[in-house]
Amino acid sequence: MDFTFTEDQLLFREAIGRFLSTEASPENLRDIWSNEQAPIDNLLEQICAQGLSALSIPEANGGLGMGDIAWSLMTQELGYYAVVDQLADAAYVGAGLISALPNTVALKAEYLDKICEGKLRLAIGHECSPLVADAQLAGVLLMQHNNEVHIVSPDNVRITPNASIDTSRRLAQVDWQPSDKTCAASGEEGQIIWQETLNRGALSVAGQLLGLAQRMLDLSVEYSLQRKQFGKEIGSFQAVKHQLADVAGKIEIAKPVLYRAACSLENKHPLSDIHVSQARNFCNDAAALAARHSIQVHGAMGYTWEVDLQMYMKRSWALNNTWGDSTCHQARVQNYVLNTDVDLAPSKTFEVMS
């Protein structure tokens, strides 16, 4: 029984954070945010040049073979710096999906190599959402049709962009036709792949939301130390202190829930669905309260385009319902607790169900 991360995992996280603090600085993000047409390739290329796109590619395919546990630290950094969807969607969620495809899929190895080199932009169309992130820039679309996984070329689909409040997101409706030729996995195999992909996507978002919550808290603490009223920093007032302390509380309690979910997913625990949704609920909560209290602490400035808070806050609102709406994750946990006859004794927290 050990909840801790290895030295390597922690150092890696620190290095990534340091790198993103310059490459994904608020100034750099603003370019992407201010212009819907602005290319995100620049940022992605910088990131891929650091080898980040190779993280979860199996070692046999030239990657680092990093698992969900290590990614639960990585995604927090991606959230903290509000890095665009494509990195986690390709290097983590997409890489996991493609790795799980049957080896008979002709393009599997090629795709993994390309992700590794940072040369493949991909989009995943899961039925949990009517919109597909990054469909416009994808070189390949991985689409769900019932339980089947389809690999679709952008040439054969109609893409209709839909602008998000998080203007760094590139969301689109995708009209496409499944065929035998596009089908890469079906039946039970496909079902397991989609189930795991939804969990991985949801967990990726959970980590990012937690990182976003921490960023909003840090920005608010900083602001409350600068801004003076009644001759004092507003951060010295209890009404402000308590709002920020409550955000810190939501963040702290969410961390172990996120880590347990990552551990379950990596080890294919039979309750992975529930553990992932629990993680999402706690991380959603943390980000939602961080956003609410942060804008309040920033006062009127919080309602402007000018302060950086707006980017992190809007991204948290958007991600809250990405890879499963918040209601869908609430419902999965609620259904497990209320509508099964499972024994919920205190001793069962880590017990593997047979």
Binding site: L217, A245, I253, F350
Partner: protein
């Protein structure tokens, strides 16, 4: 990261489970806030002690088993899971015990710890005073040093179960004219000493759950001081806040009522579902209790790796006290009109468990440092916001 128990840990769990199955009283003991209930709980504690299960994480020479904190969490899961009696001496065992373990002399440890483990000595806290509640450094009870003893004078209050306890521990101002947290000493006072008067205070449930203690020229030998003269504040605060918070209310203490709440919901589903928010609240209670458990295992892992846990432990106290309110409020919502019934009422069945818990939950955000104080601590020491 490896979230499974070792063979040894599983065996320990089974041993505790079997012992509890054979020994937990079938009939719920009367509340330990009554004379009769207090004595029955003392006997139960002795039984636990004889099985070396009262203080499993204490060293064997003081009556424990030398278990680590993971084993202790396992013990707690089994203990609460079995519906075993509340721990009547926990303020001594869990709060003072850690302090003596860290600051006591070898003689003091041998003298106080085994009898605390067996509950031959029952302990009450004597921190708060009429003018020193949230502002605890405002303590004014005095301890004057006269050679080999102190003479103490003053008043303490909100001292839980002091009318039945044998000893009290608390802070007294030993340096005349000292201010705030300077010049305080940490003293252990026998409650049968001459000059001690104890007046019960009826709690919300009508029982004498706590008391005022008056000290009128009470003689306390110097050997009863923990740490150096004038170092009392440091002694009281130093024992890792994390451990005190966690030991006081382990996750299983909330997981068990959350589990019962789920059962209450399932048994009254038709009624409860008339308000869809009830089901959501029940699921949240269970999920929050589990999150607190995950958080405890996570923190224990960090402690075992030598990390120091600081003021963030204040967050735990806020979390579990608010969770306790939610659990019992939700139960009240499900029970509806019968939720208010006292144990003595004709129609009261399981309800009394919920009403007792509901009443006690109201105290959670107040005792052990109000949640407002905990939020200040988090804001100032974790987030670095200014004190004034």
């Amino acid at each position: 990261m490896e979230l499974t128990f070792s063979k040894e840990q599983q065996n320990f769990r089974l041993e505790v489970r079997e012992w509890l199955a054979a020994n937990v009283p079938k009939q719920k003991l009367p509340t330990y806030d009554t004379k009769e209930g207090f004595e029955l709980h003392r006997q139960w504690e002795k039984k636990l002690f004889d099985a070396t299960l009262s203080m499993v994480m204490w060293p064997t020479k003081y009556g424990g088993r030398g278990c680590d904190l993971i084993d202790w969490l396992i013990f707690e899961e089994e203990y609460y899971g079995a519906g075993a009696p509340g721990r009547v001496n926990q303020n001594g065992q869990l709060l003072l015990g850690s302090t003596i373990m860290e600051f006591g002399t070898a003689e003091q440890k041998a003298r106080f710890l085994p009898k605390m483990a067996s509950s031959e000595d029952m302990w009450a806290q004597a921190w708060s005073e009429p003018n020193a509640g949230s502002d605890m450094a405002n303590i004014s009870s005095k301890a004057e040093l006269h050679g080999d003893h102190y003479i103490i004078n003053g008043q303490k209050t909100w001292s839980t179960r002091a009318i039945y306890a044998d000893w009290a521990f608390g802070l007294f101002r030993s340096e005349a004219g000292s201010k705030r947290h300077h010049g305080l000493s940490f003293l252990l006072v026998p409650l049968d000493a001459e000059g001690v008067t104890i007046r019960p205070i009826k709690a919300l449930d009508g029982e004498d759950a706590f008391a005022e203690i008056f000290f009128d020229n009470v003689k306390v030998p110097v050997e009863n001081r923990i740490g150096d003269d004038g170092q009392g504040w440091h002694v009281a605060m130093a024992t890792a806040g994390f451990e005190r918070g966690l030991l006081l209310r382990s996750p299983a203490r909330f997981q068990q009522p959350a589990r019962r709440l789920v059962k209450l919901y399932r048994d009254n589903k038709a009624v409860a579902d008339r308000d869809a928010s009830i089901g959501a609240a029940v699921a949240k209670c269970w999920s929050d209790a589990e999150a607190y458990a995950l958080s405890a295992y996570n923190t224990v892992g960090r402690v075992n790796n030598g990390e120091k846990i600081g003021a963030e432990s204040s967050l735990n106290k806020i979390f579990w006290s608010e969770l306790d309110l939610l659990i019992f409020q939700t139960a009240m919502d499900i029970l509806g009109a019968t939720g208010q019934l006292l144990r003595s009422a004709e129609l009261a069945k399981e309800q009394a468990y919920w009403l007792d818990g509901f009443l006690f939950a109201q105290a959670g955000p107040i005792y052990a440092g109000t949640n407002e104080i905990q939020r200040n601590i988090v804001a100032e020491r974790v987030l670095g916001l200014p004190k004034k």
